[in-house]
């Protein structure tokens, strides 16, 4: 009972946030052209092409193993860490080809990432959030204090942790940890934030909090989110891309994908008739 009222309240808030933002400026932030990715011999992505708009939430959905995470990780070049990965095609962010401009560090300050499982370091909350800025060479305590507070406020968790900033971040609940992870990403002042199933390990209440946060963050950031949860995609995203076997089957506004999908396979998937 409590759950359903919470849910409907939450839906309403997210909807309102969405309405506020409908006048998204329609500028292409990320442009993907004919992207192929191979893990050694095995091809995981097949000639993907799609444009991701600035300050929108783009959801990636599709069955397990269809390449959502793989695609997401091409956007901040995290796949570079894996031996034997080969990529062809182009990804441009703000008209800059991210695989030709070799400065991965700069790319990753611009494109933040939140992982499926909260992966805070075994340090204090403060040090976790200050980790990125410190890596950029910011040393002044005053400046760091300011960034930490702003980021934690930005992730809607400041009030919960402001009295225990110097205690271990690993003592927080899973949902709090994930929001600290979001704060940690925000602290880099990125323009794009990638999220790989950020709520899949969270309870329903924490999930709602993160979803509200995402809806709220949209005014400042371009967000790409992988999710297995259809309702979540419908609630938080403007555009949805349906992945299947390493291809994008359909990519359109979330409204269309969920009400009038063009492809039979998309319909089967979102209605749950799919393996």
């Amino acid at each position: 009972m409590v759950m359903t009222t919470l849910l409907s309240k939450h839906n309403k808030k997210v909807k309102e946030d969405l309405q506020q933002m409908t006048e998204s400026n329609g500028k292409t932030k990320i442009s993907v052209r004919d992207l192929n990715l191979f893990y050694g011999e095995k091809q995981a992505l097949y000639s993907l092409s799609l444009d991701i708009q600035e300050k929108e939430v783009t959801a990636l959905i599709g069955p397990s193993g269809c390449g959502k995470s793989t695609f997401l990780r091409t956007l901040n070049r995290m796949n570079d860490l894996i031996d034997g990965v080969n990529i062809t095609g182009d990804i441009t962010i703000d008209n800059e080809n991210i695989y030709q401009s070799t400065d991965v560090i700069k790319l990753r300050t611009k494109v933040g990432m939140v992982f499926q499982k909260a992966n805070l370091f075994p340090m204090s909350i403060y040090d976790n959030v200050a980790y990125g800025p410190r890596g950029q060479g910011i040393k002044s305590k005053k400046e760091l204090d300011k960034i930490v507070e702003e980021s934690l406020r930005g992730a809607a968790i400041w009030d919960e942790v402001k009295d225990r900033l110097k205690t271990s971040a690993l003592g927080l609940s899973g949902g709090q940890q994930q929001r600290i992870c979001i704060a940690r990403a925000i602290a880099m002042k990125p323009e794009i934030i990638l999220m790989d199933e950020p709520t899949s390990a969270l309870d329903p209440i924490s999930t709602l909090k993160v979803e509200e946060l995402i809806a709220d963050m949209k005014k400042d950031y371009t967000i790409v989110i992988v999710t297995h949860n259809m309702q979540q995609a419908a609630r938080v995203s403007d555009k949805t891309a349906f992945f299947l076997n390493g291809e994008v089957v359909e990519f359109d506004t979330t409204d269309k994908i969920f009400s009038v999908p063009k492809d039979q396979r998309t319909e089967d998937y979102i209605t749950g008739r799919f393996g």
Binding site: N76, F115, N119, L120, F121, M123, S124
Partner: protein
């Protein structure tokens, strides 16, 4: 039926644990029983006297010298080598061969290292029988231990830490010293503690490279005698079990102190994170 098997298994485990503790207590108890009578201020801090009745201070100093010198050389080299093998080297045949070699090196009897040290450090490098020759030999003995344990503890650092740090725009090097090495620190310290045990326990290799001079070493280029070698010699030559046991007590205490220091150090290093 199930619970019967469970109980039998539990009993066996319990017995094994008890046996291990019993053996340990017996050995330590026996040594203390035999040797405690000799322990005195003069025994520990007094000069050695070949006619009997003297102290073991020169051997304590020599032992500490060998521990410190070999750790100071082996620890940084070992950690760097492990970091290279685990984090930087392309995991191919060469790395597999190096791993196999370090693994094999841990299994070689120390007398072989001693012979090598006697030929190479003492004779070829003209260091003579000396603390430094013995310490270099010990360095070679403990290097594989430190490399192996460091590599193992680097492996246990979760991938998510590395990814998290790199995704936050940190370089590989920053990630290494800010996240990976601190979380691998307990394992690395375990390797160092293991190495201390190995150094203190060594007799043959030291005997062949540092000699047996039972006097306070003037410098690290002097020939000298460690506690373990001393213990071996007094048992062997004079059959003085009580003296050997008293030395044993001192050795146990030295190891305990060093282990406590190492643990304390790791605590301080971990605190520094916050």
């Amino acid at each position: 039926m199930r619970s019967f098997k469970d109980n039998v298994l539990r009993g066996l485990l319990w017995l094994a644990a008890l046996l291990t503790i019993a053996i340990l207590v017996t050995i330590v108890g026996y040594i203390f029983y035999k040797g405690i009578g000799l322990i005195s201020f003069d025994f520990i801090f007094g000069d050695y006297s070949p006619t009997g009745g003297g102290g073991i201070w020169p051997m304590i100093v020599t032992t500490i010298y060998t521990i410190v010198i070999s750790l100071v050389i082996a620890t940084p080299i070992g950690i760097l080598a492990a970091v290279y093998l685990q984090e930087y080297a392309k995991q191919g045949r060469l790395v597999r061969m190096i791993r196999f070699a370090t693994e094999s090196l841990t299994g070689i009897p120390s007398i072989i290292y001693g012979l090598f040290g006697a030929v190479f450090f003492v004779t070829t490098l003209k260091l003579g029988m000396s603390i430094i020759a013995a310490s270099l030999t010990l360095t070679i003995i403990i290097l594989p231990v430190i490399i192996r344990t460091t590599e193992e503890s680097l492996k246990t650092v979760p991938r998510s830490y590395r990814e998290g740090s790199l995704a936050l725009g940190n370089t590989k090097l920053q990630t290494l010293y800010k996240v990976i090495l601190p979380s691998a620190m307990p394992g690395i310290l375990a390797g160092i503690i293991l190495s201390i045990g190995r150094i203190v326990g060594e007799s043959a290799a030291i005997f062949l490279t540092a000699g047996t001079v039972a006097a306070l070493p003037e410098s690290i280029f002097s020939s000298a005698r460690t506690l373990t070698v001393h213990s071996y010699l007094v048992t062997q030559e004079a059959g003085d079990i009580e003296l050997a046991a008293a030395i044993g007590i001192v050795l146990i205490v030295i190891i305990l102190i060093l282990n406590l220091l190492a643990t304390l150090l790791s605590k301080i290093l971990n605190k520094a994170d916050y």
